[in-house]
Amino acid sequence: MSAVREQIRRRSEAPPRTRTFVITPVLVVYLALAVLLVVGSVLVGVHGGVLLDHGGILNILTRGTVLGLVAIGQTLVIVTGSLDLSVAYLIGLCSLVAAETMAGSTAMIVPGVLAALVVAAVVGLVNGLVITVLKANAFIATLGVALVLRGYLEHNYTGPAGSVPRAFQHIGYDRIGPVPVAALLMLLLAAAAWWYLRRTRTGYHMYAVGGDVDVARLSGVRTGRTIVTAHVLCAVMAGLAGVFLAGRLGSGAPYVGTDAGYDLESIAAVVLGGTALAGGRGGVAGTIGGVLILSTLDTIFDDLGLDSFFKDVVRGVVLIVAVALYARRRTAGRSA
């Protein structure tokens, strides 16, 4: 166990001895974000606008909130060496559960949120148990659960349903200056997730399981329990995203998660943030950077009035280039 932990610590925290200034993936992400902001500001400025005015900041943070919530959960799962393809449909389902439970009455806000989160936790539990007990590959297991959720949604809903009381819609729109309250809550949760991964026993176990599940098991980690925990937490984060979207839209919408492609998008944000897709390396700080990069890109494209399809092209290229750079750095470091 201590060996694993030592290895984890060395990988994630301790700087290489030879260099005093360490270029961690997290730093690279935020540097890239800074460069993107500068370049974006110039481009938008040439186009006759301002990127980082009141509306721009609001736009970036609002876009980042939902993706951030989902991506935080996805980080936990990916670090554990798994992944979750069911989040997009889960977001839609949770927005419906929340909105239908609330049914426009202020008294039902708390039960509505709780109901949505319980549904999310159950779906996460199913994901985790299918992976650990039925020993299905995470890709297939969560894809299967996603398809089941999709069937349920398509069978029972044709459009928006339920309604959210006005009091709850504040969570979607209130802000302090240019900063939405929900974005602050998202960052708070990110900090909590960071603490959980880096400072608690289960968090360490997640890195251990993601690094090498056999070594972790032989070291006495309850690998199954760790994987299930990661999936439940990931699903609850997706549930929160669904609840937030219900608050913003005023009702639940079955395809609010899939229309935005939050399943693959959240994985992209996590990987963009320097977390290894194979697990065992990375963290929440990088993920938030990745989320901000994606939402900044979106905002820049909007300001420039570019075709929305062009966004997809650039997003795809950015994703591949970023991961290629990480891979290059890692092999360079290993051979050095």
Binding site: L83, L134, K135, F139, I140, V148, G151, Y152, K311, V313
Partner: protein
């Protein structure tokens, strides 16, 4: 048939499932009382089978190809615009589509092998790029039309001496499956399987791992182009034609008992998996299950299939290192 008694792991169960589904179809619908019904099923299933065979090459060598669905969409939209209803254009457009397929496969494969990016990410990026690029080019809605000669492959039939009318797509399907079986029995095919099982051993034994994986991606994209040509003929032009096909193809391969992460699985089983999936959809349709529940059934079935595979080969699974590219 006797020569193939030595079936690869996992081929047995999927063939049994397929047989049960086919028999059930015969009871469920009068259309399946005679061979014509099954021929129609084969015709419908042809694009998915072809895609599944391509996906099989990538999966068995330890990767994923998520870009095939958007590649199909892109090629159908491009074909409609370039052919523009003129028979004279059919030939070169088909050649161009196959060429584009090879190019996409090369890009996927080169980025995966040379830049060391996980194939999940590469092909996800390719999916975004293709989706965006094709809509950017077509302005959001597909334009143009396919020529009758282009659509022959997808919906026409050939007059064969003994068998009578056989759809072209069924012939293409058979050619692809036979070629794939032959390929997997050749030295290169066996090496491809070995790469998925243990890349390092193949490398140490002198195998060209990068070249093999590149080949898998090229084959997958090329077969996706073939599937696009069949689908365009069969279903016509739409911007949603390839939606979800990548997951369906992966489902089919896994249903055939292939292990995600590579190293195990047979190509016949993958094709049978695709056929089973299509037969299942036809059956659900005949039984009056709403289209909405189709995906739920698909979800339950793939989980069940994978769980069965994991437990059926329980001991093997315990000895084996869990899938490295869990991705």
């Amino acid at each position: 048939m006797r020569a193939r008694l030595r079936l690869a792991d996992g081929t047995g169960p999927v063939l049994v499932v397929l047989l049960i589904l086919l028999v059930a179809l015969a009871f469920a619908g009068p259309a399946y009382a005679e061979p014509a019904g099954y021929l129609a099923l084969l015709k419908r299933a042809a694009p998915l089978v072809v895609l599944a065979v391509g996906q099989y090459f990538v999966i068995v060598s330890g990767g994923f190809d998520l870009s095939v669905g958007s590649l199909v969409t892109a090629e159908v939209v491009v074909a409609a615009r370039l052919v523009d209803g003129d028979d004279a254009n059919t030939g070169w457009v088909i050649a161009l589509l196959l060429g584009c397929g090879v190019l996409v496969g090369l890009v996927n494969g080169l980025i995966t092998t040379k830049l060391l990016v996980p194939s999940f990410i590469v092909t996800l990026g390719m999916l975004l790029v293709l989706d965006g690029a094709v809509f950017l080019w077509s302005g959001g809605a597909p334009r143009g039309a396919l020529s009758p000669s282009f659509r022959v492959l997808g919906r026409g039939s050939a007059d064969l001496p003994v068998l009578g009318q056989v759809p072209w797509s069924v012939i293409v399907l058979l050619v692809v499956v036979v070629a794939a079986v032959w390929f997997m029995r050749s030295g290169t095919g066996r090496l491809l399987l070995a790469v998925g099982d243990n890349e390092n051993v193949v490398r140490l034994a002198g195998g060209r791992v990068d070249r093999l994986r590149l080949l898998a991606f090229v084959l997958s994209a090329l077969l996706a182009s073939v599937a696009a040509i069949l689908l365009a003929g069969f279903a016509g032009v739409s911007a949603q034609v390839g939606e979800g096909l990548e997951f369906r193809a992966i489902t089919a391969v896994v249903l055939g008992g292939a292990l995600l992460g590579g190293g195990r699985g047979s190509v016949v089983a993958a094709a049978a998996g695709a056929l089973s999936l299509e037969a299942l959809f036809s059956l659900l349709n005949l039984l009056g299950v709403s289209g909405a529940l189709e995906s739920a059934v698909q979800g339950v079935i793939i989980i069940a299939a994978v769980a069965y595979a994991a437990h059926g080969a329980g001991l093997r699974q315990m000895l084996r290192r869990p899938v490295p590219d869990t991705a």
